[in-house]
């Protein structure tokens, strides 16, 4: 019997097979691939050509400090560095103590510190030493945390709790401490202002958000409908109108003989009132995920309603909404860019004032792309860190 000659099977591994499977599997995929390649070429070629030849990136290099901290007094710059060093220390400590949970953020912080140091070197500025110092502090505290292990847990937690009020005090200063003079908030600007608004907006809105979420689930009709009304009202109007309201109406609401709060403070109040409605919905989601059995078990153990809430239900609910809270951090970080409309000097507004400088006229693309990259990079890094933390803690999926 003559041997039947069989053709060898088609390749199923290797680059050719990959191309066939992923790009040219059917006739319409072939068409789509060619359309895609044409589109990519049509978009990327002018973009790359522009960014390498025409673009005047000098506008960014020349105004980098302005973009980062705005008009913050240059002789008080050490305060900003101190907040960065403290952040590095806390991240290092958390990494050492909590291992996996903080590893994503630690990698991001180390990488960012190194990248900024390189940028500093390229721009011939001496900030590179500070960034490397921040990295060194992070690594040193990692070693400390590692040797403390579980005993360091409470120290680290207290550290984080103290950190946010502390940096606020540090950046704002106070007239009661001679070596820490008050810095007017009208001088805050750039990325510094954006981050301060994000942190204050998020942390400040959480207590109000929890109260509103509890109120919305309350059995008492008046409290319930008041909470629903507040949440739906705020969620039904744009953030700009709330900022506008905070900016114009807040001074009217205060007693006539009281000092008027400044612009940044008014914006913060607006952001907190706005974000509280969204935080309330996040927390409500967490509360709904708690099994009835938990309430009943707590009652059976003789806990009162308040104790059941604070000891049993809320801790579990808040743990369940960690991913949602991270998400709202990212989205508030984006939303703070709207304070430019009511006249605060965040990155965007700084960008517009840079564009008004006579030597940098017409560099709109460069400036807006830079702002774009800052927001994108920060959000990407933050999302990466928080996802690693969620995975390590095993929250958000059961």
């Amino acid at each position: 019997m003559a041997a039947v000659e069989m053709r060898p099977p088609r390749l199923s591994v290797g680059p050719i097979a990959w191309l066939r499977k992923n790009l040219f599997s059917t006739w319409y995929n072939v068409v789509l691939t060619f359309v895609g390649i044409t589109l990519l070429y049509a978009l990327l070629r002018p973009a790359i050509q522009w960014s390498l030849t025409e673009a005047r990136w000098g506008v960014i290099a020349a105004n980098l400090t302005l973009f980062m901290i705005g008009q913050y007094p240059r002789e008080e710059l050490w305060r900003v560095w101190l907040t960065i060093f403290m952040l590095g220390a806390l991240i290092g400590l958390s990494w050492g103590v909590w291992k996996d949970a903080a590893r994503g953020f630690a990698f991001i912080a180390l990488g960012a510190g190194f990248a900024f140091a390189v940028i500093g070197l390229l721009l011939n500025s001496d900030v590179w030493m500070n960034w490397l110092l921040a990295d060194a502090i992070l690594l040193a505290l990692y070693a400390v945390g590692w040797s403390l292990r579980a005993r360091g847990g409470s120290i680290t937690a207290v550290g984080w709790l103290l950190y946010f009020p502390l940096i606020f005090l540090l950046i704002a200063g106070t007239r009661f401490i001679p070596w820490l003079p008050a810095v007017q908030t009208s001088l805050w600007g750039g990325l510094l202002l954006t981050l301060m608004l994000t942190i204050v907006g998020n942390i400040g809105s959480l207590p109000l958000g929890i109260l509103l979420a509890l109120g919305r689930r309350s059995k008492l009709p008046i409290i319930k409908y008041f909470s629903i009304g507040y949440i739906e009202l705020i969620r039904g109007v744009p953030l700009v109108t709330i900022l506008f309201m905070a900016d114009l109406l807040l001074p009217l609401f205060l007693p006539a003989d009281m000092a008027r709060p400044d612009r940044v403070l008014r914006a913060m109040v607006g952001l907190i009132l706005f974000e509280a409605a969204y935080q309330a919905e996040n927390v409500r989601g967490g509360l709904q995920s708690i099994n009835r059995g938990q309430y009943e078990a707590a009652q059976a153990l003789g806990l009162s309603g308040t104790l059941t809430m604070t000891l049993i239900v809320l801790p579990q609910a808040l743990r369940a909404v960690i991913p949602a809270l991270f998400n709202s951090f990212v989205s508030l970080f984006k939303d703070t860019s709207l304070v430019a409309i009511i006249g605060l000097f965040d990155i965007l507004r700084i960008g517009r004032s840079v564009l008004a400088q006579s030597e940098w006229l017409g560099t709109h693309r460069e400036v807006f792309l830079f702002a774009f990259i800052i927001y994108w990079g920060f959000n990407l890094a933050f999302t990466y860190g928080s996802r690693r933390m969620e995975e390590a803690l095993g929250v958000g999926k059961r």
């Binding site: 992923n22 790009l23 599997s25 995929n29 789509l32 691939t33 895609g36 390649i37 589109l39 990519l40 059995k219 008492l220 009709p221 008046i222 409290i223 008041f226 009202l233 969620r235 039904g236 109007v237 744009p238 953030l239 700009v240 109108t241 506008f244 309201m245 114009l248 109406l249 001074p251 009217l252 609401f253 205060l254 007693p255 006539a256 990212v330 984006k334 939303d335 860019s337 709207l338 430019a340 409309i341 965007l348 709109h364 693309r365 807006f368 792309l369 702002a371 774009f372 927001y375 994108w376 959000n379 990407l380 999302t383």
Partner: protein, 388 residues
């Protein structure tokens, strides 16, 4: 029988709590009200809506309803509201198309196409809309060539720094007498829908698919009859032509409107893409496989089994994206499109009637939101799973 003392009675305590809450809120409101009125008197302002009748005496760049500077403040705010509505409605239509295409593209088996969609969604969702708007407006549209060297796209659509010019229809003198045919054509669609529903209620058999062609054929037939009776067409295509220094004819979109619409569509489309993707992925593969094994073709299985179920997952988050688009249109102020927020801001500035203007603004946005939610809730209850 033991009677609980009234101060330990749960119902009494609950009532007391609520009364206390109301008292606190009332006190706070009274305190704030007193402050506002003292502050306003001190500034020499009075609260009232009379200012709405005063002449606005400022110009508005583009108005979708007739407006001139001598019109009242009330009219100016109305112009802003209409502008907001126009950009929101157009935006919702286009963003749905973009979002659905991008969401399906993300699930494409073609590696390049799905990477495209992932990059689009990832970049757009992680950056603020206001920066995107400013980039489109200052960085792209205002950097386009002047009218003489306009970028011509097929259509013909011309892109220039003075706006986008595209063909449009122009009403002819016969348009008025044509209205009757248009109304009858519209009425025929409703009538067919009613007949189909009546038939379904009577026999509870679904209508054959090709009967749906009636929706298309009836209006076309009616308009065709109109064409025979009145040979002059009601609308003529009007193509923009470069005459002298500017384009004549066609439809001109201002740079502000074009940038705002484009920015809103691109931004919201990225969020809708994620919703569509999640909705389709939420339907287990088993549904498709079961439908195929029952003898349905892939197209039938997608249309009859997968999409109706995916729609249930998609509609509620889609509603909130539509609301977000309408609310985000208030960022128009950053690029100078005269929407509700920017005109109301100008009015508040000129008249000092801050409280009243903010109230009008909030109520307008709130009623827009509530109306959209209402429509989407009605639609949602139609596609919702019917449970016992």
């Amino acid at each position: 029988m033991q009677i609980t003392a009234f101060w330990r009675n749960v119902r009494f305590l609950q009532a007391l709590g609520q009364v206390a809450f109301v008292l606190i809120i009332a006190l706070a409101a009274g305190f704030l009200y007193a402050n506002v009125s003292t502050n306003l008197t001190r500034q020499g302002l009075t609260v009232g809506y009379d200012f709405l009748n005063n002449p606005a005496s400022f110009d508005i760049g583009e108005a979708n309803i007739p407006y001139q500077a001598s019109d009242s403040y009330g009219r100016a705010i109305l112009v802003g509201l209409v502008n907001t509505l126009v950009v929101s409605i157009l935006g919702i239509i286009f963003t749905t198309i973009v979002g659905v295409i991008a969401g399906i593209a993300r699930l494409s088996s073609n590696w390049l196409i799905s990477r495209f969609a992932i990059a689009y969604v990832g970049v757009i969702r992680n950056t603020p809309l206001i920066i995107q708007l400013m980039f489109w407006y200052f960085g792209i549209i205002l950097q386009l060539p002047a009218v003489k060297e306009a970028v011509a796209l097929p259509g013909p659509i011309y892109l220039t720094r003075r706006g986008v010019y595209m063909p449009w229809f122009e009403a002819q003198p016969t348009f008025d007498s044509w209205r009757i045919y248009i109304w009858v054509a519209l009425a025929s669609i409703v009538l067919i829908w009613l007949i189909f529903r009546w038939n379904y209620n009577r026999s509870s058999l679904p209508i054959p698919l090709w009967w749906n062609l009636a929706y298309l054929l009836a209006p076309v037939l009616i308009l065709w009859i109109g064409m025979i009776l009145q040979p002059q067409p009601p609308l003529l295509e009007n193509i923009p032509v470069l005459t002298g220094l500017n384009f004549k004819g066609g439809l001109r979109l201002t740079p502000e409107f074009a940038a705002l619409l484009f920015g809103l569509v691109v931004y919201t489309g990225a969020f809708i893409a994620e919703i569509v993707r999640a909705g389709i992925q939420a339907i287990s593969r088993g549904q498709l496989e079961a439908a195929r094994s029952l003898g349905l073709s892939t197209a039938q299985a997608l249309r009859l089994i997968v999409f109706p179920q995916a729609l249930r997952v998609i509609i509620p988050p889609m509603t909130s994206q539509y609301l977000n688009l309408a609310k985000n249109s208030s960022l128009a102020i950053a690029i100078g499109y005269p929407d509700l927020f920017s005109i109301a801001g100008t009015v508040a500035n000129q008249t000092g009637a801050v409280v009243e203007v903010i109230l009008i603004m909030m109520l307008s946005y709130l009623s827009m939101s509530l109306f959209t939610s209402l429509l989407m809730n009605i639609y949602n209850s139609r596609v919702r799973l019917v449970e016992r």
